[in-house]
């Protein structure tokens, strides 16, 4: 029997080996390499003669308004699409799961709201570019309807470019957030609501007192994954306008700046790496910080309770499938 157990645990290691090798070769080493390159003056041209320059790349970045602008833009674009995203998702989830309201065809609404998330971001950016360009359909419509006298250069306006990026990001992600939050709500034990209803609680009261507190783990998950994705925002702002985050660098995100340094005529790999490193550190610290902070703030007993309430989530999932 002892031998049997050894054999089994060995298979555990054998089966996870490809993952570990894949991670070391394609995940960890490139990350290490990015950190290492960020301390050098490497360009695409001088690969052999690159020098170790310490933190010079970072000093330059911190002195560069352009870099600060990239960071600010990224946070702005992310926060302004995430806030309405989570707000609308909570509202829709509350409506969809309210037994008294009996909203029809919930599965179909959700499926349609999620659709934009599956489409190619490159295509979506090109689509909104053509819809909003000078001779595009939006201009045609507002001129014809008499809202404006002359077509507008939408994509040359800072505010419009930003609003479009925010709208597209929101458009692509709110459906997914609805689905995730509803799965969280489905896992909350029904007897809590039954007890509240016996006590005469209203829908909004139950949502505020039962649903929201118990959704905390799901909300942290949505928040952190959205943040990690948002800090790496690239496709939409890059492809919507001039591939430089214009007009006036108003939608230039971290990753666009990193790409611009990489693709500059000299190919500043070292400088581009330092952008990646700083954003990596910022994102990881904030993401893991939120995780730690949010967990630590609840008392141990409460944490136990939450863990217990989370456990049914897993067994609940097949039922989510069955409901549709």
């Amino acid at each position: 029997m002892g031998l049997f157990r050894i054999r089994k645990s060995t298979y555990g290691y054998i089966f996870i080996t490809p993952f570990i090798i894949g991670f070391l070769v394609f995940g960890l080493y490139p990350l290490y390499n990015t950190f290492a390159l960020s301390l050098t003056s490497t360009t695409l041209m001088n690969a052999s003669s690159a020098e170790y320059i310490g933190l010079d790349n970072f000093k330059r970045l911190f002195a560069d308004d352009f870099f600060m602008k990239g960071i600010t833009n990224t946070w702005l674009l992310w926060l302004l699409n995430f806030t309405p995203q989570i707000g609308i998702a909570l509202l829709l989830s509350a409506w969809f799961t309210n037994a008294r309201l009996k909203i029809k065809a919930v599965g179909i609404w959700r499926a349609l709201f999620y659709l934009p998330n599956l489409l190619m971001p490159a295509t979506i950016a090109a689509l909104f570019f053509s819809l909003f360009q000078f001779y595009g359909p939006v201009n045609q419509a507002i001129v014809r309807l008499g809202f404006v006298d002359e077509a507008v250069h939408f994509l040359q306006k800072v505010s419009v470019a930003r609003i479009l990026v925010i709208f597209i990001q929101w458009w692509m992600w709110f459906g997914q957030t609805v689905i995730i939050i509803m799965a969280g709500i489905a896992a909350i034990p029904i007897h809590l609501y039954e007890a509240a209803m016996v006590d005469g609680a209203t829908g909004p009261q139950m949502f505020g007192r039962i649903t929201l507190p118990l959704l905390k783990p799901i909300m942290i998950y949505v928040f952190v994954t959205s943040l990690v994705g948002g800090m790496q925002m690239f496709d939409i702002p890059f492809l919507l306008t001039d591939q430089r985050g214009g007009p006036s660098s108003s939608i230039m995100t971290n990753n666009i700046l990193m790409y611009m340094k990489f693709s500059s005529s000299k190919g500043h790999i070292g400088a581009a790496s330092s952008v990646g490193v700083l954003v990596f550190i910022m994102t990881t610290v904030v993401a893991l910080g939120i995780f730690y902070f949010m967990r630590d703030r609840s008392a141990p007993s409460e944490r136990k309770k939450q863990e217990k309430s989370l456990r049914p989530l897993r067994t609940q999932i097949p039922q989510v499938k069955a409901q549709e």
Partner: protein, 281 residues
């Protein structure tokens, strides 16, 4: 229902359905316009918005092909990368997940937590180090640099774990062991076939992710004949097509129609799969 008067509840319902319809229009109209414009001639498109399809699809497609962008090539490039990535990532994710569910071994708890942390790591930010490393191996401008990294997919392991945990598999494993099956044989011949619904659901996500992936391909692939679809879409904006709106819309439509078809067929599984990947401790 005694607590909300009927009238008030009905008014609320009207309000809710109005909001839902507005959100639905916001969601659908841009996509619908894209598909409709793919069938309209450039002249028609310039004359104004229409929500009704026209008859110029084939003509638009011909114009698109006449300007040097080979979307069929791009389509098959994207298909190759996406299919290969999907097979690799589903297989290795489920293999790893299976090991974590079925076997006991030292360091398993650490590995479990490590996988969860990995899901939260912003991987795109190490692209420059990845590029330089691939370049030193001679693997830039090679699909291997897009496909092989999918061996280690933390989200896939997470998904696979949830799936295997929801299956009652221990009895089957014991029975197969008594019959003398090897451990890897049990995984290949018994567990993977049983996990096909889960593997297919996760496979759809892996496929869509690879199909839509612009950033990595854009950095790593340089030969025009190796361009994937999102890279070709980006070139559609170039000068050659500046006034050929119909052709541009056809090009855009080609990138999303396969996804729309897959979604129409499997939306139920896709929607339930999102919740499955997300609900975690």
């Amino acid at each position: 229902m005694y607590d909300i008067p009927k009238l008030r509840r009905n008014l609320l319902r009207v309000f809710i359905y109005t909001v839902l319809v507005i959100l639905l229009l916001l969601t659908i109209v841009p996509i619908w316009l894209l598909l409709v414009n793919a069938t309209r001639s450039t002249t028609e498109i310039q004359q104004g918005i229409s929500f009704l399809p026209s008859t110029h699809l084939v003509e638009n497609y011909r114009i698109l092909g006449s300007k040097g962008i080979d979307l069929i090539q791009g389509f098959s490039n994207s298909m190759f990368v996406a299919v290969a990535s999907t097979i690799i990532t589903v297989y290795f994710s489920f293999l790893t997940a299976y090991a974590l569910v079925v076997y006991e071994f030292k360091g398993k708890e650490f590995f479990n937590n490590f996988v969860i942390v990995l899901v939260l790591i912003p991987t795109q930010l190490s692209i420059i180090g990845f590029y330089q490393y691939m370049s030193s191996l001679g693997l830039t401008d090679n699909y291997a640099s897009l496909i092989l990294p999918t061996i280690a997919n933390a989200a896939g392991v997470f998904f696979g774990k949830q799936y295997f945990e929801s299956m009652l598999i221990q009895d089957l494993i014991d029975a197969a062991r008594i019959d003398g099956a090897s451990e890897i044989g049990i995984f290949h011949r018994i567990m993977m076939p049983l996990a096909i619904p889960g593997a297919a659901t996760f496979g759809i996500f892996a496929f869509v992710f690879s199909w839509n992936n612009f950033f990595n391909a854009f950095i790593l692939i340089s030969s025009f004949d190796k361009y994937t679809l999102p890279m070709l879409v980006q070139t559609l904006r170039g000068d050659v097509y500046r006034t050929e709106y119909g052709a541009i819309y056809v090009g855009l439509a080609i990138t999303i129609v396969p996804i729309l078809i897959v979604y129409a067929l499997f939306s139920r599984y896709i929607v339930s799969g999102i919740a499955m990947g997300a609900v975690r401790e």
